[in-house]
């Protein structure tokens, strides 16, 4: 650190205790330059870049509420007689896992609302991952050099599904047990290793005697641990590689234009976390989710009609519903029909999704690094393939709830099933063709405006009798926020012009900025003060 080579104190005034502590830490660990470098990191501004943060903050909410639930949940298969507050189940035999979930819901302070926030957060977590994935896909953000982060993202999605399903299965209510029974059947349908796998996981024939404790470890330790590590890697790589941005005025492949982490981006993100928590808490407080008391304790002899998994597993439920009952027997083995829609199909889907950046690079021959994004219309084939995949997924997803849709809209269930079967084959190609044509048309329109200007609607008659329409030239692109091209390499400090004092955030930045940045590697330029981190820099 630079303090060693600068023995004379830089401070004219007496350091405050906070500064003293800060300085003491810095002298030992050299934290200041790292903090300053990272606080000055610039993030581009576009609303769609915030979708991934929804997933991050939902995950934080999941951890917080999950910790509270672990204090009261008892993951045990031991049978007990219920004697809690919920009268319609009094005297009913059930597992301790189910009984303790009832106790969380009815006899624990704030237990029900925490359970509901936890569950809503799980649904929103996966939903925001998929929304984020769509943003990344349709803008081409996964291209070189960001393929690894795309792969990690696919891993996060897959683990999110596993984690969600494990949580859904823990309370040992009728839905949980029905879902696990199906999962066990899927495991058994795998040729050769199926039976062994199932017996290994359930410690014998389903439902086994100590499956819930095993699932509990998976749900609260193993998968969240891996998720956390992958999220760390995902964000670390993002931090290192810097964020992509849409092309625009002052934006190039070699810079990032936007706000610095501190204070603007940090304040925005902090507020965003609060708002995410607020939305999830509102859902948890106002909308009932997974009323396990209505479903009753799991009993293999019982099953409720319209038993569905949570929405993110719905596409596999749908594929199972659409699959014809084709069973293969031969060579001493049986391959049940359920193998294809529940094990093979998701395997193919996830493999294709993971390989996509490499497939695209191979087919387009584009081996360049890209830091600027594409608008969806600028890559019609990719956008069309995305629309095709989404429509394929949507048909499966809708089919997962086809019984409830059939009942709600008075359609025959058989009609729904056949509509799903035919739709699965017919809809994706149609989506491909329409999307591609739409993209090409939009590009043509853009081209038209670029070269001929915008139609004004004014028709003039020339002297020779000819009618012509006036076009006005396309206005130059306007950026609606300050032009702050900042080098991708961490920017030098001391760029603020002392414009603090206007707006709470700026004042906060000015007040706190110096605290973190005073031990600068380069002495601040005269007259600029010692803050550096405050406000967006203007060059």
């Amino acid at each position: 650190m630079t303090t060693a080579s600068a023995p004379t104190p830089k401070f004219q005034k007496r350091p405050t205790p906070a500064r003293a502590v800060n300085r003491a830490i810095d002298e030992r660990f050299g934290t200041q330059s790292a903090i300053r470098r990272n606080f000055n990191k610039v993030f581009p501004d576009h609303w769609s870049f915030l979708i991934g943060e929804i997933a991050l903050y939902s995950f934080v909410v999941l951890l917080l509420t999950g910790i509270y639930l672990t204090l009261f949940f008892d993951p045990s298969n031991v049978e007990v007689i219920y004697n809690g507050s919920y009268v319609p189940l009094k005297g009913v035999e059930m597992s301790r896992a189910y009984a303790s979930t009832l106790d969380i819901s009815f006899d624990t302070r704030a237990g029900l609302v925490f359970r509901q926030i936890h569950h809503w957060a799980a649904l929103v977590f996966v939903a925001s991952i998929i929304a984020h994935m769509m943003r990344v896909f349709f803008t081409g953000a996964y291209r070189k050099p960001r393929e690894v982060n795309w792969l990690i993202g696919i891993g996060l999605l897959a683990l999110g599904l596993v984690e969600g399903f494990a949580g859904y299965s823990l309370p040992d209510d009728l839905l949980s047990g029905t879902g696990l029974r199906i999962a066990a059947s899927i495991a058994q349908s795998i040729p050769v290793i199926g039976t062994w796998t199932s017996f290994l996981v359930f410690n014998g024939e389903f439902p086994g005697e100590n499956f819930i404790p095993r699932l509990y470890v998976v749900h609260i330790l193993l998968v969240p641990g891996i998720l956390l590590a992958l999220i760390g890697a995902h964000m670390g790589i993002l931090w290192h590689q810097k964020h992509t941005d849409f092309p625009g005025p002052g934006k190039t492949e070699h810079n990032v234009v936007g706000h610095r982490v501190f204070p603007v981006f940090a304040v925005k993100s902090g507020g965003f976390f609060m708002l995410t928590f607020a939305v999830l808490a509102l859902l948890g407080g106002l909308a009932q989710i997974n009323p396990i008391w209505t479903f009753g304790p799991y009993d293999p002899a019982k099953v409720s009609s319209a038993s569905q998994p949570d929405w993110y597993i719905g596409f596999l439920d749908g594929s199972t519903r659409l699959m014809p009952p084709w069973e293969f027997r031969g060579l001493g083995h049986t391959i049940p029909a359920v193998l294809w829609p529940t094990a093979v199909l998701p395997g193919i889907l996830f493999t294709l999704a993971a390989l996509w950046p490499f497939l695209e690079a191979k087919f387009t021959g584009d081996k360049e690094s890209h830091n600027l994004l594409q608008r969806p219309r600028e890559a019609p084939t990719r956008t069309a393939i995305g629309a095709m995949s989404l429509s394929f997924y949507l048909v499966l997803w809708i089919s997962g709830g086809n019984d409830i849709i059939a009942h709600t809209f008075s359609i025959s269930l058989n009609t729904m099933t056949w509509a799903g079967r035919i739709g699965l084959i017919v809809v994706p190609p149609i989506a491909y063709v329409i999307t591609k044509k739409l993209c090409i048309s939009l590009n043509e329109r853009d081209h038209e405006i670029d070269h001929h200007g915008i139609e004004t609607g004014i028709i003039r008659q020339l002297a020779n009798g000819e009618f012509v329409e006036d076009h006005r030239p396309k206005p130059p692109p306007v950026s609606d926020y300050p032009q702050v091209p900042t080098d991708r390499i961490p920017v030098a400090i001391g760029a603020g012009e002392g414009e603090h004092g206007k707006g709470l955030v700026r004042r906060a930045g000015a007040a706190v900025g110096g605290f973190f940045t005073e031990e600068s590697e380069k002495p601040a330029a005269p007259g600029t003060g010692s803050h550096g981190g405050g406000g967006q820099t203007k060059h």
Binding site: L286, S305, D310
Partner: protein, 292 residues
């Protein structure tokens, strides 16, 4: 006197046609009383004389007024019911309720079936379809009782249970829940929200079913529903199931809006449309605030 014979024969045929061990009607009591009087007549002459006298006295004191009125009103109900039947039902079910190609025979279905079908509005049928759906009833409860009396007079069958709030309050809710989840939830869904069966048939929502209708449906097996006879589900258990259905209808969802009681499907929709939708709105809002 002919009318009283008619009601007597109707009662005896109904008793003969179905062994109803628990749902005993008021007419049985009167019939057994007169039977015991006949037995007494067969004893000694003094007893016979006394008995005759006593019977005569009792008959004059008790029977004529009340019984005549009862029989008369019962007959009136049957007569009115027959009238209503021939106007509204005979087209499909036949002039003598013997059934036709358009509708099944109603002989022996009992008052319970009539009360269920007509009070839920399923009969008269709105249109031939895979299954009749619940709608506002076309007949008043008096008319339904008259129709029920007429059908009951034809061949007996299960009668209307007439459950009171007390019956339901005394029922074992936990037992009702166990029975419901074991026997009913596989079609009607665990919260009684209803679900489809094959080819347009469905297990209807139980949100509007009255306790009487629940028991009637169990006993008579309307549409695709199987019959749950008293051999499978005792009267007491049937009341417990009805009480559980009432609990499902009346108890407010402890966790907030019940979202149609279907569980994961509406929950997923709400999470994506409202939850993610709101948060994408927040993204737009934060993203739009460029100049801080």
């Amino acid at each position: 006197m002919t009318t009283s014979k008619a009601s007597e024969s109707a009662a005896s045929s109904s008793a003969g046609a179905t062994g109803r061990p628990r749902l005993v009607s008021a007419r049985f009591g009167r019939r057994s009383r007169s039977a015991s009087a006949r037995r007494r007549r067969r004893s000694s002459s003094i007893v016979l004389l006394f008995g005759l006298l006593a019977t005569g006295v009792l008959w004059t004191v008790l029977a004529p007024g009340g019984n005549a009125a009862d029989t008369a009103s019962a007959n009136e109900a049957v007569r009115q019911g027959k009238l209503l039947y021939s106007q509204g039902c005979a087209t499909c079910h036949g002039l003598n309720a013997q059934g036709s190609t358009e509708g099944p025979s109603l002989i022996g279905v009992g008052a319970a079936a009539v009360d269920f079908q007509v009070s839920t509005g399923r009969m008269p049928l709105a249109a031939p379809a895979a299954q009749a759906d619940r709608k506002d009833p076309l007949y008043s409860q008096t008319q339904i009782d008259q129709l029920a009396a007429y059908i009951q007079s034809l061949g007996g069958g299960p009668e209307k249970p007439n459950l009171t709030d007390e019956d339901l309050n005394d029922a074992d809710l936990a037992e009702g829940g166990e029975l419901f989840l074991t026997n009913c939830a596989q079609c009607h869904q665990a919260a009684g929200a209803g679900a489809p069966l094959t080819y347009g048939k469905f297990a209807p929502s139980l949100s509007q079913a009255t306790p009487d209708q629940v028991v009637e449906a169990m006993r008579t097996g309307p549409e695709s529903m199987p019959v749950f006879g008293s051999g499978q589900i005792t009267d007491e258990e049937a009341v417990a199931v009805a009480a559980y259905v009432r609990h499902l209808q009346d108890t407010p969802a402890p966790g907030g809006s019940s979202l149609g009681k279907y569980g994961p499907v509406p929950e997923g929709l709400v999470a994506i449309v409202i939850g993610l939708g709101a948060l994408l709105g927040v993204c737009l809002w934060i993203g739009a605030r460029q100049k801080l």
